[in-house]
């Protein structure tokens, strides 16, 4: 039997995930020198998460003449009404401040002669986003009161009586178990990729849009701890350059390229211009035999082509390799486009934790920010930063209020660990035993890879993946639920030869939990609201009766789905826990 080394850490605020939102939460808390902050990251914050390769532009910005309310209205229309207007508004108010902070930290933003940021379209500004992650990471690590714990994968929260007191996880290289006790926790682990069979399932299976290392850990931990979740049925499907899955917006908005079908006909207007309608148009054209579809770039000027090369090297280098090695750049050949497999990503759509204005979840002391937080789509980089800041400020207020009520001073070992010692020891110890059981034991029949493939096949076929044209039915979803449940059972019997294997097992387990929630949500919404993101073939029309949220909570191991009325028109939602 393997026995892991155990490390215990006490901190005031624990941030899980050092990506965009997590780093900015740490930077924000750097101002509160008297508290200790721990940032736990499964990779290394220098290049982890969505920003690893760089980004193209800041997609969320209030450009001249526009207001935060305009942004709210845009996001609401784009999501066909299923958004939290209160969350969108408080995010939108901070977007420009977030952009200015990025510039202050060292990200290059294009300015005109008057010193104003140069807009790209209505809501974007132009930057050099290649080094955005190292810049954010450096600033986070520089804060005196912030400790960064790289290469530690968090798998579970420590919760008692619906109040969080920490989390536990393991070192991804050494046999070390971590138990971290904290007064408050901010979850910023991003969204979930790899639930569905990707476009290329073989050698290039990880050539996907969303980072394959964001495996939905934050969602899964929350679901298992009984947190309320929202809108998992609103999956995100990206329209991307075929094969390389590089973004298309740069070509479309930057070089003004239109979408055309195989006959050279422009088809965008025919289907509507929301994000999901754009995907739907391309899917439909293909289905009806008018594909492949392209972005019409042929004939662009040489200077434009060179600028595109540089822009892609700053965010999606594989597209550059593609252009160069085929001997045909975008000026000579139109760029073929396709839809990706579905992702769950609360920074683009509205899936994630059900939070209040402070980004506090339904578990006391647990906050969520960025792609893991629900209700607030179209966040992108600046919105993730804004939420990181909101959550950090609120978590700080929360621990201050708790300190007052418990009359303890900052710097002491965290009170819950003492007051509730017994149950804390047991649940962390259980987790350690679970890791050790995977590491001990015998070679299993299946590997995590085998089960991942089975999960992706199931989701693809029965829960509306690429293979089923993004369509699904009640009967298929039932099959999907059964199959995922049986794969989940098999996942308990896997064997890890080392810590790397253990990481892959937990990544699989997280995805399986998220799949359960996706299936439950898809079958609950009996209409088709975001056609490009999925079609409920039993209910192919939009239905006004479904202008409400589909929310869920795990109770005794199963996901219970319920509805909530929309929060809109200046109203704010508060928890009543």
């Amino acid at each position: 039997m393997i026995s892991m080394i155990q490390r215990h850490i006490d901190t005031d605020i624990l941030i899980i995930g050092g990506g965009t939102a997590g780093c900015f939460a740490a930077i924000t808390l750097g101002k509160e020198k008297e508290i200790r902050v721990l940032l736990a990251e499964k990779a290394n914050i220098r290049r982890s998460g969505c920003l690893a390769a760089g980004v193209n532009a800041l997609n969320a910005y209030i450009t001249k003449g526009k207001t935060p309310q305009d942004y709210v209205d845009y996001a609401r229309r784009d999501a066909a009404g299923i958004v939290r207007e209160d969350l969108l508004f408080s995010m939108a108010e901070r977007l420009n401040h977030a952009a200015e902070e990025l510039e202050r930290l060292g990200v290059v933003i294009l300015k005109d002669k008057q010193g104003e940021y140069v807009a790209r379209g209505d809501r974007n500004i132009k930057i050099n986003g290649e080094n955005i992650k190292p810049v954010l990471a450096r600033a986070a690590a520089e804060q005196e009161n912030v400790t960064v714990l790289n290469h530690v994968n968090i798998t579970d929260y420590l919760v008692k009586d619906n109040r969080i007191y920490g989390a536990c996880g393991f070192d991804v290289r050494e046999e070390v178990f971590y138990e971290i006790c904290a007064g408050a926790v901010i979850c910023a682990t991003g969204g979930a990729a790899g639930l569905y069979r990707p476009g290329h399932a073989g050698f290039s299976r990880h050539k996907m849009w969303y980072p394959p290392f964001n495996t939905g850990a934050g969602y899964a931990m929350g679901i298992r701890a009984g947190a309320e979740m929202t809108t998992f049925e609103m999956r995100f499907i990206a329209l991307r350059c075929k094969d390389t899955i590089a973004p298309t917006g740069t070509i479309a908005q930057g070089a003004g390229a239109r979408q055309i079908n195989a006959y050279g006909e422009e088809y965008e207007e025919k289907y509507g211009l929301t994000t999901s309608q754009r995907v739907y148009g391309t899917v439909r054209e293909n289905k009806e035999g008018r594909g492949p579809c392209y972005l019409k770039t042929k004939g662009i000027a040489e200077k434009q082509e060179q600028d595109l090369y540089k822009a892609y090297l700053n965010m999606a280098p594989s597209q550059y390799v593609r252009w160069v090695e085929s001997g045909k750049g975008p000026a000579q050949e139109n760029v073929e486009i396709e839809g990706t497999e579905p992702y769950i990503v609360g920074g683009h759509t509205a899936s994630g934790y059900w939070v209040d204005g402070d980004r506090q979840t339904t578990i006391r002391g647990l906050f969520a920010a960025g792609d893991v937080a629900g209700g607030c789509p179209q966040k992108y980089v600046t919105g993730a930063l804004a939420e990181g800041e909101i959550a950090a400020e609120a978590a700080y207020r929360y621990i201050k209020a708790e300190e007052k009520s418990k009359e303890i001073s900052a710097g002491a070992a965290y009170p819950y660990s003492k007051a509730e010692g017994e149950s804390k020891e047991t649940s962390a110890a259980d987790k350690k035993a679970e890791y050790e059981a995977y590491l001990s034991g015998e070679e299993a029949l299946f590997t995590a890879d085998d089960l991942e493939e089975a999960m992706q096949e199931t989701m693809d076929r029965y829960a509306g993946g690429i293979g089923s044209g993004y369509g699904y039915r009640e009967s298929g979803l039932k099959t999907a639920a059964e199959k995922i449940a049986s794969i989940e059972k098999l996942s308990q019997k896997l064997h890890a030869a080392d810590m790397d294997d253990l990481l892959r097992i937990y990544e699989l387990k997280e995805r399986l939990t998220v799949c359960q929630a996706v299936i439950a949500h898809l079958s609950a919404r009996k209409e088709t609201r975001w056609r490009g993101f999925g079609e409920n073939l039993d209910y192919p029309q939009e239905d006004a009766a479904w202008e409400k949220y589909v929310n869920s909570r795990m109770e005794n191991g199963t996901i219970r789905v319920f509805e909530r009325e929309l929060v809109k028109g200046g109203a704010a939602y508060e928890h009543t826990h």
Binding site: A43, N44, R47, I127, F203, R205, F213, Y320, E325, S326
Partner: protein, 104 residues
Amino acid sequence: MSIRIETDRCSGCGRCCEVCPGNLIRRSADGKADIRRRQDCWGCTSCLKECKTGAILFYLGADIGGRGSVLSVSQKGDIKIWSVTDPGGNVQKIAVNSKESNQY
């Protein structure tokens, strides 16, 4: 989609192992960097940018149309020089200044 590590050029500094967002690169027994599962690479090129000796090359899988060219990068001050070398040994270079914003 993956990377290849040229072990003769690898100094064993460990920077690539540290930075890969997927924890995919380890040092093997001889101290050199090694990617255990090539098919797990996302293609972010973080490891290439981090490597001071240019030991890491990036390529597209044949399943997504890769034709055997490799991408590498070197840095001089604010300038990154990206090179694509095709199987015939022809090299195409492009310089990108990290102080200049994207035009698009």
